[in-house]
Symmetry: C2
Subunit: 301 residues, 2 copies
DNA sequence: GCCAGTCATAGCATTTCCTGATGAGTCTCT
DNA sequence: AGAGACTCATCAGGAAATGCTATGACTGGC
């Protein structure tokens, strides 16, 4: 026979109640079952834990000492298990999340607020990064969950579309094109354009869409930060081709936004995770909240 | 399913070896058995501990965290159990022993030396006390084992004769009675006698023995300490009637010892313990050494 | 001396656990 | 590309453990 938790629990309870019968009742066991547990424990330890008499049991000195140690260990164990269960119940835990800045500034705060309401003890460590960095962080294990885009299927990552982001034309106040409801790459190609810098996913998207229309994208201005691009447009220096989800756009009341109804002007914002790696319950909870949140995002047009 | 140590051990080993198969081998289990243990553990916790693939398993983040806690707890448990087993094997432990001073000064050191040789880690806390105190200490739980005498059977104590102590006549150098091989109460009654103080077990024994012979014991001197009594005898002030086991006698080369061959001049030195209370393994070891040691004690006469 | 209370024992049923065989998926080497 | 090695999952049957009910043995109090 080897040691078992049953034995330890039986022993601890017997010590606590001072009686085999009462201990058995408290553990929802029959008294003989408990007696056997104690006896086998004594046998495995080679030590008498209780002195029995017809009037009851009395703990041995060794029994008293051991009971203390065992009780402490059981308590620690129970605490660890309780902690694990709490994590499993999504009531706690920490998620490392890598997000595109545009999403971090718009959809994410709403989702985090909801998550907090549902699972207050879940911590989310948000790391904003461009699409490529999001993928890298996931693969490197620096993030458990990611929100970004992918150039194509990635064998290491799972992807699931959260929502679609579209590039929209951003017009300065009073611009001539403002009378149109929609704009096309062909129309835009004639204007001085404000875009993000080469290499950014938004820029790549725009270039591909123009190429499909047989056009070459030749921006007048290139900005690294969205706020810069918006400022350039507002100053009337050109027409912006920028993602609709960017917070800076939605906060700029004087600018006119016009959709560019070309499929390739849309990009899929993906919920990313490592393939072959299960999500922690906390991450699972976050993912669920994200899925439920994005459908509520405002439309642009 | 409830938590079991098997599961924890399986989990800890799987985490340590990084493989279910290797963990199973190390635990002398089949791989399926280990797989099941891990799975049921995951079910009871509600938590995925490993991500499986056909290439092997990789611990989850939660798994890594939990493994640390569990490993620590298992180690503590093993340590406690090892300590208990060591006690059971009599390799360690502490015995509280109450002893008559005469025994403490003579037989006991020999026994303790032997015990140390056999079980170096057993500690013996020696408390010397007169016969009545020895009994009291046992009953009060202040001592686990006692060496003393009893006026009669005691319902609370078990007694076992270790050896018999006899009162001997102690003659100063050149005393007239020294030519006799043996002495009797009748002869001694005519001498000025040196005894221990009234109430001591030695004194009571002597009084009873004299009474049986129809004599009244009327000592010339009464000493509390054996060393005093011996000094009085050596100074020629009288004939001592003292226990043969007293170390002071055996260390006093000039004194002549003569047996008093009367049965009632003997007292049983008893090994005492609480009835209804089992001895700790360490105490058991001490008891055995005591039994084996006393038969070797020197004879007087 | 009987009754109440406590633990131990025995026989039987149930649950748990393990093993051995087998299957499925992946990687490596040829 | 295919064979072989490796890993984990699943399944079926049997062994071990655990538990329960019934009963016994012993003690202390009324």
């Amino acid at each position: 026979m080897s040691l078992s938790l049953r034995q330890l629990r039986a022993f601890a309870m017997a010590m606590e109640t001072g009686s085999f019968g009462r201990a058995a009742a408290r553990l929802h066991l029959s008294q003989p079952a408990l007696t056997v547990q104690i006896r086998t424990l004594e046998e495995t330890l080679g030590l008498t834990l209780f002195d029995r008499s017809a009037r009851g049991v009395r703990p041995t000195e060794a029994g008293r000492t051991l009971a203390q140690s065992f009780a402490r260990i059981l308590e620690e164990l129970d605490q660890v298990v309780a902690g694990a269960r709490e994590q499993a119940a999504r009531r706690s835990g920490t998620v490392h999340l890598a997000v595109l800045p545009s999403v971090a500034a718009t959809v994410l705060p709403v989702a985090l607020a909801r998550l907090r309401q549902a699972h207050p003890a879940i911590r989310v460590l948000v790391r904003d990064a461009v699409a490529r960095r999001v993928s890298e962080m996931l693969k490197a294990g620096e993030a458990e969950l990611g929100i970004g885009t992918l150039p194509g299927p990635d064998p290491e990552l799972t992807a699931e579309t959260l929502f679609e982001d579209e590039l929209v034309a951003v017009l300065p106040p009073g611009h001539a094109l403002a009378r149109r409801k929609k704009l096309t790459p062909a129309i835009l190609a004639a204007e001085p354009l404000v875009l993000t810098e080469p290499g950014s996913s938004v820029r790549q998207l725009a270039e591909r869409a123009f190429a499909e229309a047989g056009l070459v994208l030749r921006p007048a201005y290139e900005a690294t930060y969205m706020s810069t691009a918006v400022a350039l447009v507002r100053a009337g220096l050109g027409v912006g081709v920028l993602p609709a989800t960017a917070l800076d756009l939605q906060l700029a009341p004087l600018l006119e936004l016009r959709p560019i109804p070309v499929p390739s002007m849309r990009r899929h914002i993906l919920l990313l995770a490592r393939r072959n790696s299960s999500l922690s319950p906390a991450a699972e909870a976050l993912a669920e909240v994200l899925r439920a949140t994005v459908v509520v995002m405002p439309k642009v047009g």
